[in-house]
Symmetry: C2
Subunit: 430 residues, 2 copies
Amino acid sequence: MVDIATRVHDHQWKIDPIVRSLIDTDFYKLLMCQSVFTHRRDTQVTFSLINRTHRIRLADLIDEGELREQLDHIRTLRLTRGESTWLRGNMFYGKRAMFRPDFMEWFEGLQLPAYQLEKRDGQYELTFEGSWPEVMLWEIPALSVLMELRSRAVLSQMGKFELQVLYARAMTKLWEKVERLRPTPNLRIADFGTRRRHSFLWQDWCVQAMQEGLGDAFVGTSNCHIAMRRDIEAIGTNAHELPMVYAALAEDDNALARAPYDVLSDWHAEHDGNLRIILPDTYGTEGFLKNAPDWLAGWTGIRIDSGDPATGAETAIRWWQERGEDPTKKLVIFSDGLDEEKILQLHAQFAHRTRVSFGWGTLLTNDFRGLVPGDALAPFSLVCKAISANGRPTVKLSDNPEKAMGPPDQIDRYKRVFGVGEQQPVAVVV
Amino acid sequence: MVDIATRVHDHQWKIDPIVRSLIDTDFYKLLMCQSVFTHRRDTQVTFSLINRTHRIRLADLIDEGELREQLDHIRTLRLTRGESTWLRGNMFYGKRAMFRPDFMEWFEGLQLPAYQLEKRDGQYELTFEGSWPEVMLWEIPALSVLMELRSRAVLSQMGKFELQVLYARAMTKLWEKVERLRPTPNLRIADFGTRRRHSFLWQDWCVQAMQEGLGDAFVGTSNCHIAMRRDIEAIGTNAHELPMVYAALAEDDNALARAPYDVLSDWHAEHDGNLRIILPDTYGTEGFLKNAPDWLAGWTGIRIDSGDPATGAETAIRWWQERGEDPTKKLVIFSDGLDEEKILQLHAQFAHRTRVSFGWGTLLTNDFRGLVPGDALAPFSLVCKAISANGRPTVKLSDNPEKAMGPPDQIDRYKRVFGVGEQQPVAVVV
């Protein structure tokens, strides 16, 4: 039977909102936000959308009015009582009260700040300016809104059964990946696919399919909203934005060289266990590890997020050995451009030498490659980054020059300060 | 939102009924039923289930209690007022009031007669005895109940997402057939898949997918219930049971030789246009056409339902030419063991020489081949046939000796009377 009330309610919708919760975001954003709220809450930061796939002309595909409606809707969201209760009371990484009362009070009162939106050369220039803990929470919803509006633009021309078959094919595609992964023992895979998901409902489906299909090998999702609704682990630690902003704020080259360690020093004071994960590639993994203080070698693991992942893992293992640590007790988290084939390769190569875990993103929650004419639903490389802090530009080098960002003179300065030489470019797909 | 009333209602179900309407059956059954009601209503006929695929041990797969519940449920069904209105008022094959008031009054009062059910050698012996117009209406619901209980038995061990992916794969498989058929102009394809469907809901999905995917090339469904609900054409003419029972009733060899033409003589008086379709293979197509009266050559078309279909079509075309008819004005309906590949082949071979149309059955509504381990959902050859009339055994020869049925001595007699010589066996898949 038709639920008449639901139908009537649906008719009253002005829009079909993509993001319906302030915690429809990555768990590590909230961890970082609390850290920023504690240590750097007055820093003025600008986040900006960057489409690294220029051929996808988002401003031609997506109606500006629809985009504004979605972004405006996100500004109407407030943390609900249930979400607050979950964040305050749930156990994350084995710890209760992960989020402190002062942070939760601030979060309960939060409205996301205004955005600036313009069109230029077929792309949207979308920026968010304000205090760091506020604007940083725009990154994930802004990305997922743009990704899903792009999906909707492509899907809007399709018939009802054509759509059903499209999703049938996408389901089959994901399930074949699950079936390829299933026979391998001791896999640990988490969903990291919120930001570039095909759609919210699709991510939610993928997470549940992984749960049934992989069982214990599926260790959780980065998406807090889905983690809460589906009662599964919320997963995530920290990201490049911390060292990027800390570095931009550095007063001189000495302070700049110290900035990435200052970040982790603050983190060290706040977290332990599996949350002590080094993200070493912001200004080059080699130099970062060489100059790292000894207490960092005692951390639980390293996340490999750019460059050749096997090389990154070898570097980490060698570094631990040099510092007298036992790599078999350590954790290597791979999170860059993964698909099931690469997961199996890396697992086979490293699982007997260290503990490994995978943060599977875009090709988990947005693999519609080859399913529509012109591959119009293929994922692409959209990011939303902190581009300045207190008026100074941020810089990222990473282990892949294709992922570097910042003004050229500042990139040169950072390379000099961090001793980064020649780098191997790796094509950025997603 | 959950529709609470629906959930409560569902909890009250004793069973999940497979057949929920007396017109969840093939249209030609109703046409034939009216003809039988008019001409031979007191004939006592026995229908019996025959599983031609012995390796599928239905009695091991399907619980007898569940089967009885489903069959008992069918005996509770009565023609509803809406169904009666539709049968009385709808236009079928361009004609209003296809079903006469006296037949409709009888049908409105009909309850399907009792059944006999026993297990033997891992198979069910399921028979229906009674007056011909009553028992003949058991054939299609009995088959679809057995087919769907077999599907349910296989599906009952699967997880929620495993099931979703199974259906995703089946949808993809059907859609790929639709996509292969779509580019060919002037195709005419109808759904003939009720009796051996995977399930009712799946047939309903297939019909709607064909409607969207093929547009005008999809000309209708044999299933009256779906035709009514989806407002599409109900399709079908007549079947082997008419000549088989007429032949069994023949008092001597002369009457036997005449019986297949007596059937069509009765039909000629009742129907015209696209309902005048010869089904020539019951006792061999060659002999049937050679001895046919000239008025039969004036009929609209021929349905090819056994033997090599191209040979059958060539035979029909040659026969029309010999009788001075223009084959390009005639209609050849292929309905035996079709899949999209064979449809395209036959269309390419004959569409420029005659009008062609396709009745696509089992591999439209039940192609789950290769989708589960051990191919446990592959379709198989289950039929329900009139095996005796007024105490005399029925016989079918067909153009494929693999499809012949009846006592050996009677088969020999029929072969002699109808002049059937050597026949080419064709493997029966479905």
